[in-house]
């Protein structure tokens, strides 16, 4: 670790000594204590766009047009100007510093949404390896959609959802995937999880998890669809046995018909007069039989439970079965714990999914009402770990399970499951890798009024939203201390205050390193209106954008914070 706080001394020290093994990134990060975005340009002139975020490698700034139809991508550059006088660094910045274009160069604009569709402004996923971006457009939501075609009741429907795979280098749309009359939670990328080149899309309406692969060539390839079927050939097998049983039914019906006809031929006089007489009744009866079969096919028979649901129920059943040896006690346990709640278990729906690694999924189950609700605290929820290759459920926990919370506390990093391709995302500061964050968590745990409630609240963040944390070193808890309620690495809108948000150095306690103040410099005149802020931190450069919005469609106040 560095002996001095002076940046020049640190650079000299870096030249002559190498860091301890495995800490090179953390050592390099310490220079961020010296280089901070301390200067703010308030209310800069910028085009009327909606800011999404910086890509995780810092190459692109993703924004959308105000009408939610176009994608506009900028390259972050740096303010540069020349000054011929002496003592230039004491001078004010030139007037062009107030312009958005001085900091960002527009690369291109691409229209993603056709008429009737809107881009989901909260949705953006990035593959660092190929610099592909995934965006979503959708039509309007229909709330009371009838449950047809395998859909479950209670989930709204969206006529068309399209996922676009865009090469961010030049804005070319490489591939699209459309879901019709479906519902996928697009806000904050909740319904989609990206791991390396695998994408998991949760169709809430049809209760399926679609696994897609993003090839290097830019194609989206279907890998499997989990829900109704678990293995790739389940559908084929069930269809072929369904066809076989249909053929058998039809054959039996025809046999019956022939038997009836044979009886008729003996008894009816008309039958000997010509084939017309006999053939008509035959044809009618055959039609009736066929219609009858058709009719049977249209009436909803009691269907099989979907493959994933069957795996889940049998896992729960076997767990309870294995607990007891005595058959009578076993039966009582099963009645109490399984059969009594059977319908509740069978009615569970998939809410959200994340990858734990390439083969394992963490699936959150809950009741139908909670699937689209914003606040799911009061709804019961369960977590299951599912192996896609063996199609087995590995474990099943309720959302108040202490075991799962212990794993979350110890191995939070692994829930973030950053792939090896993503360099910056491997160094997120969480309570599993940072003592200060862990202390904060323990402090909250001790302050909590009830431990089960605290556990539920913490586990409600699982499965985590993909790419929702900013990799900026300014959020590293070992470098800076900041108020997590006002600002944090999670990209969520927060309530805005007029006071600047302070970033205080950890190693030199009580030394303020920099402040981030959203909103106008003098503070807003109207203190009563609710204001929300969002922050975009560049992953590498000492550059941040804060956007403050009121709820009355007034223009947003955009500040830029950078190192002067």
């Amino acid at each position: 670790m560095f002996r001095s706080n002076n940046v020049a001394a640190r650079i000299f020290e870096r030249q002559i000594s190498s860091p301890a093994p495995g800490t090179s990134v953390h050592c390099a990060r310490r220079f961020y204590e010296n280089i901070v975005p301390s200067h703010t340009i308030f209310d800069m002139e910028c085009p009327d766009i909606l800011f999404r975020k910086f890509s995780d490698d810092g190459q692109y700034l993703i924004t959308f047009s105000r009408n939610h139809q176009d994608l506009i991508v900028y390259r972050p550059t740096w303010l540069s100007f020349s000054c011929r006088e002496q003592d230039c660094h004491d001078h004010e910045l030139p007037s062009k510093a107030n312009k958005f274009e001085s900091f960002f160069t527009q690369l291109y604009t691409v229209t993603l949404a056709s008429s009737g569709e809107l881009i989901c402004k909260d949705f953006f996923l990035y593959t660092e390896k190929n610099q592909f971006g995934i965006f979503a457009t959708s039509t309007a939501q229909i709330h009371d959609a009838p449950a047809v075609g395998g859909a479950i009741q209670g989930i709204p429907s969206i006529e068309k959802i399209t996922f676009h795979l865009v090469r961010l280098e030049d804005g070319v749309i490489l591939d699209e995937r459309v879901f019709c009359n479906d519902y996928i939670n697009l806000a904050h990328s909740m319904g989609v999880f990206l791991y390396d080149d695998l994408m998991a899309i949760v169709s809430l309406r049809y209760q399926r998890i679609h696994i897609l692969q993003i090839r290097d060539s830019g194609n989206l390839v279907d890998v499997r669809s989990i829900g109704e079927y678990c293995r790739e050939d389940d559908e084929l097998f069930l269809n072929s046995s369904a066809q076989a049983s249909e053929k058998r039914d039809l054959f039996m019906a025809q046999k019956k018909l022939e038997a009836v006809d044979n009886r008729d031929r003996y008894t009816s006089d008309c039958s000997f007069n010509g084939c017309e007489c006999t053939s008509n009744p035959d044809r009618n009866r055959t039609h009736n039989i066929e219609n009858g079969l058709d009719h049977n096919q249209h009436t909803p028979e009691a269907p099989f439970l979907g493959g994933l649901k069957q795996r889940l129920l049998s896992f729960i059943f076997r767990g309870i079965w294995n607990e007891e040896d005595d058959p009578t006690v076993r039966m009582q346990c099963l009645k109490k714990k399984f059969y009594f709640h059977f319908q509740d278990y069978a009615d569970l729906v998939i809410w959200k999914v994340q990858f734990l690694d390439r083969h394992h999924l963490l699936i959150k189950f809950g009741s139908v009402d909670g699937g689209v609700a914003r606040n799911t605290d009061n709804h019961p929820a369960f977590f299951a770990v599912y192996n896609m290759e063996t199609t087995e459920i590995i474990s099943f926990y309720q959302n108040s399970a202490d075991e799962l919370y212990t794993l979350f506390e110890l191995f939070c990093d692994h829930f973030h499951s950053s792939s090896k391709n993503s360099f910056y995302m491997n160094f997120l500061s969480t309570h599993s890798n940072n003592i200060h964050a862990l202390e904060q968590l323990r402090c909250n745990k001790n302050k909590a009024s009830s431990l089960p409630q605290f556990v539920k609240k913490m586990l409600a963040t699982l499965p985590i939203n993909c790419q929702s944390q900013s990799p900026s070193p300014y959020f590293d808890h070992s470098l800076f201390r900041y108020d997590e309620k006002l600002i944090s690495s999670t990209d969520r809108h927060r309530q805005s205050t007029d006071h600047p948000i302070k970033f205080i150095s950890r190693r030199q306690p009580n030394i303020l390193k920099f402040k981030i103040k959203p909103g106008p410099e003098s503070g807003s005149a109207d203190t009563r209106t609710k204001k929300i802020s969002s922050f975009l931190f560049h992953p590498i450069l000492p550059l941040a954008i804060s956007v403050q919005q009121t709820l009355f469609l007034q223009p947003a106040v955009v500040n830029i914070h950078f190192r002067r």
Binding site: G319, E323, D357, P380, I394, Q398, F411
Partner: protein, 90 residues
């Protein structure tokens, strides 16, 4: 060289060139053959990386432990019946 540590094969370190040219003696190491076979690896041992990350490994371990405690408790005449399966409460 690191003192006079023994080596299993006297031909080891035969190409070792000391940095200090004054000490040009090349020493053959003392040979040592172990007198026991407690540290010999099994002949079919293959060491490879674990495919599952530690979190997933813990999930599997918990599942196995539940199975093991149930088996152990079935041998016990009066085991404690802790409910390992979550109960559905609304």
């Amino acid at each position: 060289m690191l003192g006079s540590w023994p080596s299993i094969d006297p031909h080891n370190f035969s190409q070792f060139k000391p940095n200090d040219p004054s000490n040009s003696k090349r020493m053959t190491p003392v040979t040592y053959r172990p007198t026991h076979d407690r540290t010999v690896p099994p002949p079919d041992q293959v060491i490879g990386p674990e495919a599952k990350n530690i979190l997933v490994r813990h999930f599997y371990q918990h599942a196995e432990e539940k199975l093991r405690t149930k088996r152990a408790s079935s041998e016990n005449p009066s085991p404690e019946r802790a409910s390992k399966v979550p109960s559905f409460c609304l």
